[in-house]
Amino acid sequence: MHKIFQKIIIFLFYFFAFVAFIALSVFFIFIFYKGVNAFSIKLIFDDTPPLDALMLQARVFNGIFNAIVGSFFVVFVSIILALPLGFLSSIYVACYASKNVRFWMGFLCELLSSMPSIVIGLFGLSVTIFLHKNFFAELYPSLLISACSLAILVIPYIIKMTESSLCQIPFSIKNVGLNLGASKTQNLFFVQLPYVSKEILGGIILATGRAVEDTAVIMMTGAVAMAGIPSSIFQKYEALPFFIYHISSEYSSKEQINQGFGAAILLLGVSLFLFATAFALRKIISKRSGFGI
């Protein structure tokens, strides 16, 4: 009886794993099939010569080149903003903060990271309107506003990853440096941070991925359908996820929806690229076994 029961359980495991596998495969094959068919140089650059577009000599009108550039910049700026803030505050929380502060920070991060991103978008928009009305009449939703809002979106991820990995260092390793005469700062930089560098990196990559794919935040804070390449961070811009949303909600021809799939496969490619980067960096780090000193 016991044996049969066990067999049924194992069968169920296999079965559901199989279903999940099939579902994922269908998804990937679908996106791939649609995307690869739609994908072409023309999709990205339209009729503009690619080289001219890349050198910013000529403007692309119908391709997704602008969206690629816009996505890249908005994510880049948001990570530049989020990284020091998230990283330093998590080190503070993990190493120096009192129990109370640690609890409340953890609570806030948990809350913030489960918040729908549309709320963060709304917040970014309201702050912009407020600033526009009261202080900077020139300020409109723009790449900078989006980047700030995206930073708010991803900071909790960075804090949670860094802090939890710092707190999970085995007790013996955590204090080895101190025991050998290192100051707290030296111990942090030469022992603790190198020890968790993989996890921290993982957090940053995860945060980047989250920022790339988010639509709600940028939709409310400056991403538009037709903006070209922004010449400053105070301008509106195009972005891949918004492009997909926009084109699939108002498409008028098969070609347009195909463009959507092309953009989708690009996003998939970005995820793949981030994943590969994380993997490669991990390999490099563990080879170097380098504890800074």
């Binding site: 013996s172 390793i173 005469g181 504890f291």
Partner: protein, 230 residues
């Protein structure tokens, strides 16, 4: 050599965790260039006592220490319980704690020993010399000389225990705090390490915890027994 003769005076030392008192009103002297053995049942606070001597105890949450631990060195006396956070690194370079369980970093054998030396800004040649010397001291050199740059975690328990002892010796401390240094060694090696300790006595003050009666009899100049209050 630049080893200093350090005398330690423990006065009314009390250690408690929350409301629970681990030990109370310990008072005794640890003489320079001697081996003091701490013996007593498990859980009585021997390891904690050693961690008080190099103030690693401060890293443990909820523990409370009262009393005085005076360090006499070249006519100067300091109460190490009153040291500021920024003075601890220099204390810990002089008074070195060797843990009971090998606390190696996920680095090579070489880098594990070199770590503390680099922190002190010691040059590469000197580091190499010290590593070879200290590994020879603990009878590990012949076993690892061909693979100094392999990760230290491939070593056996006994080898790791000797490695952390070598790591401490390479730092040339004035006071060496040993927490059951031969617990995972076989008898032959234990005897060799005991001989090493006896020879080290000329240079440094040693406080060790041991569960082996024979060992304590052989090496200790002073035996300090911690007992449960009766």
């Amino acid at each position: 050599m630049e080893f200093d003769a350090i005398k330690i005076e423990v006065e009314n030392l009390t250690l408690s965790y929350g409301k629970r008192v681990v030990f109370e009103n310990l008072s005794f002297d640890i003489f320079p260039r001697s081996i003091t053995a701490l013996v007593g049942p498990s859980g009585i606070g021997k390891s904690s006592f050693l961690k008080i001597l190099n103030q690693m105890i401060r890293e443990e949450e909820g523990l409370h220490v009262e009393g005085k631990v005076l360090l006499h060195n070249k006519g100067l006396s300091v109460d190490i319980l009153k040291l500021k956070e920024c003075e601890l690194p220099s204390l810990r370079k002089k008074v070195l704690y060797v843990a009971q369980h090998p606390d190696l970093l996920p680095l090579s054998i070489y880098d594990n020993v070199a770590f503390g030396l680099r922190l002190q800004g010691i040059g590469k040649n000197d580091i190499n010399n010290r590593i070879e010397m200290s590994l020879r001291d603990v009878f590990l050199w012949d076993e690892v000389k061909e693979r100094l740059h392999v990760k230290a975690d491939i070593l056996s328990g006994g080898q790791q225990q000797r490695l952390i002892l070598a790591r401490a010796l390479a730092m040339r401390p004035d006071v060496l705090l040993l927490d059951e240094p031969t617990a995972s060694l076989n008898e032959e090696l234990s005897l060799k390490i005991e001989d090493l300790l006896i020879s080290l006595k000329q240079k440094m003050t040693i406080v060790m915890i041991s569960h082996f009666k024979e060992q304590v009899k052989r090496v200790a100049d002073v035996i300090f027994e911690m007992r449960l209050p009766s």
